[in-house]
Subunit: 378 residues, 2 copies
């Protein structure tokens, strides 16, 4: 059986077009397709030393086509997403002769893409850039949609801007070296989009979860392409945070709070989001938004992810964090809840703005004690 799944998506945003290539080995041929974008330009590559040593050679054809590529190294993980790091990269780019028509390429996971995109967006008021996501999470989610940013001490992604990449190159052969917990974390975002937007994709994940969690590239490639298409479709129709784009925040209201209260240690992003989806499901059940089958299937599927246990967390601390989240407005928190359409369990959602503190606090302690249990009102 041929294992190559190669797909090209075009994202047409208000501020330009993003060309998206997904599949095994897409980096090898990318330089030809990107010739106009690359040739004769100085290229800055934002990456980590670990990734550069491990996979940098996959970028050789791209690097050869650019002028004097300059590597800019950042730390692994969330430490890269700091204003000070962006400041250092800007200084380095200016010192290396970076110009308005220079190019930047991010080569790494979500944190590298976030800080690299922010640096591209702010350098000389914006230079064009390419995202080369090297994790499943980044390939299905973080690299798409134009969100860039860094963290403040008081919260994650609290500084940033919308800056759409000119290219996204998702080479699934880079995923072979990912730890299985990273694959799991990325698959949670696939489940998030599939449950609300693409029921056939959810069924595909249910059927092939074991192969996906094992990193089978042939099974992963079409799933990544479908999830990327779902996300790009949402973003295309709603570039800023209107109601439609909010659907992507399913599981993220509590998920971000869990990450924040844990100071981004102990759980991966996707793991926290999985718990966030389970909690949103409770709120949806209280409000009779979802068919019983949907709750059951989502819990069964997420149990198979074998998430690390939820550490002990204070409901008050979590609630305080949620009200400070950047997606909260002066009017309160807007929850994204799954909602079953009349004829099927998945494929719908509701943005619930009127969920009060009491309602959340009635569910939260019970949820923390038993995350896979249904709403206390069911």
């Amino acid at each position: 059986m041929a294992t190559v799944h190669r797909q090209k998506l075009d994202f047409q945003g208000k501020s330009g077009q993003t060309k998206i290539l997904i599949g095994e080995g897409v980096l090898a041929g990318a330089a030809q397709e990107m010739a106009d974008w690359l040739s004769g330009r100085r290229l800055f590559v934002v990456t980590t030393r670990y990734l550069w040593d491990l996979h940098g050679s996959a970028l050789q054809s791209v690097l050869r086509s650019a002028v004097d590529p300059v590597e800019l190294f950042v730390a692994d993980g969330e430490a890269a997403k700091a204003v000070e790091v962006a400041h250092r990269l800007w200084d380095e780019m200016l010192a290396a002769g970076g110009k308005r028509d220079s190019r930047l390429l991010t080569f790494g996971g979500g944190t590298v893409g976030d800080v690299g995109g922010f640096v591209a967006g702010g350098f000389l008021r914006g230079i064009e850039y390419t995202q080369v996501p090297t994790t499943l999470l980044a390939q299905v989610d973080a690299a798409l949609g134009g969100k860039t940013g860094v963290d403040l001490e008081g919260g994650k992604n609290t500084v940033g801007l919308f800056h759409h990449p000119a290219w996204v190159l998702s080479d699934t052969s880079l995923l072979a070296t990912l730890p299985s917990a990273e694959l799991r974390s990325g698959l949670v975002e696939v489940v998030k989009m599939a449950a609300l937007l693409d029921p056939p994709l959810l069924e595909r994940v249910e059927e092939s979860l074991d192969a996906l969690l094992a990193g089978d590239a042939a099974v992963l490639a079409p799933v990544i392409a479908a999830a990327a298409a779902a996300k790009a479709g949402v973003v295309e129709r709603d570039e800023r945070e209107g109601d439609l784009r909010r659907v992507l925040n399913f599981g993220h209201t509590l998920g971000h709070a869990i990450e924040g209260v844990l100071a981004y240690e102990g759980l991966r992003h996707g793991e926290a989001v999985a718990y966030g989806m389970l909690f949103a499901l409770r709120l949806a059940e209280r409000r009779a938004l979802v068919a019983p089958e949907a709750g059951k299937r989502l819990r069964v599927l997420l149990r198979r992810f074998e998430l690390p246990a939820l550490p002990e967390l204070s409901p008050e601390a979590l609630y305080g964090f949620m009200t400070r989240d950047k997606k909260a407005t002066e009017g309160g928190i807007a929850w994204v809840l799954p909602a079953s359409p009349a004829d099927r369990p998945f494929g719908g959602f509701e943005i619930a703005g009127g969920v009060g503190r009491e309602e959340v606090m009635e569910e939260l302690p019970a949820f923390l004690a038993s995350p896979f249990a249904p709403s206390v009102k069911v």
Copy 2:
């Protein structure tokens, strides 16, 4: 004679609309016009302690309409435009409970507007803001057009983004306390736009320069309105740095280099730009782009500005700075040169991309020795 000149301009950009109010006392009534934008929102005011003590009371009606306004102080002058300052303001805004629908208002000159606009553009990926420029330079130029930014050690405005304000409130009564050198610096930008875009405005400046330099509010208000309209018109047709918007860069290629080599000390921005225009005029004369009358009139007008003398400057250092300017591309420096249309001395320009190093270096030492002399080739 009534001295009130009140004008309302609307700027329609790709990313939204800017409402511009210009005239004496426009701040007093602004809160009513801005009611929808302001009421029920938390407001952050970026300003300096000096301006706040001097003119803060002019903002009272605006502040009363917002929720718990929070003042954010920055230093006077270029020191405010630093990544570290933006970082501090972001931290303060987050700690004060800033949300995505919070508002920001800049109250100050160009540096306050630049850093404040950048902070608004980056906070939670962008919140809406208002510019209240308190200097002539900011009222005719800096506050309009959506450019925001801070400096790196290696160059001015090297980090930033395009973020159009929702409102610009130019209250000409704030200009009464400006030092005359500040008025002169602002009027240079008026001359810049008038010479290339609005010959009747240039004539008005020639006729009333003494009153303008003396800060006569009645004479200033319509001049500010005309210059603001010229700039808004250019930006509206060309939001990013295309060929049309480049016209605004007349005098800025050498002007920025002079400021940079002097480490932004000794000359004000407008003073450096005035010298930059005189130099661009030489390049235009070499290429026979301008009618002799235009060169003569521009020199006569700028002599009347009684600019501080140009300090001793190295041509090599200036040239090096120009090639590192963010407006330079990998292809070299694009000079904005005045060009006389067939039937009149002013009102035209040319973007000259092919001005070589030899050409510039043939003029530059002679210019530095005698800035008001014509081209060595004339």
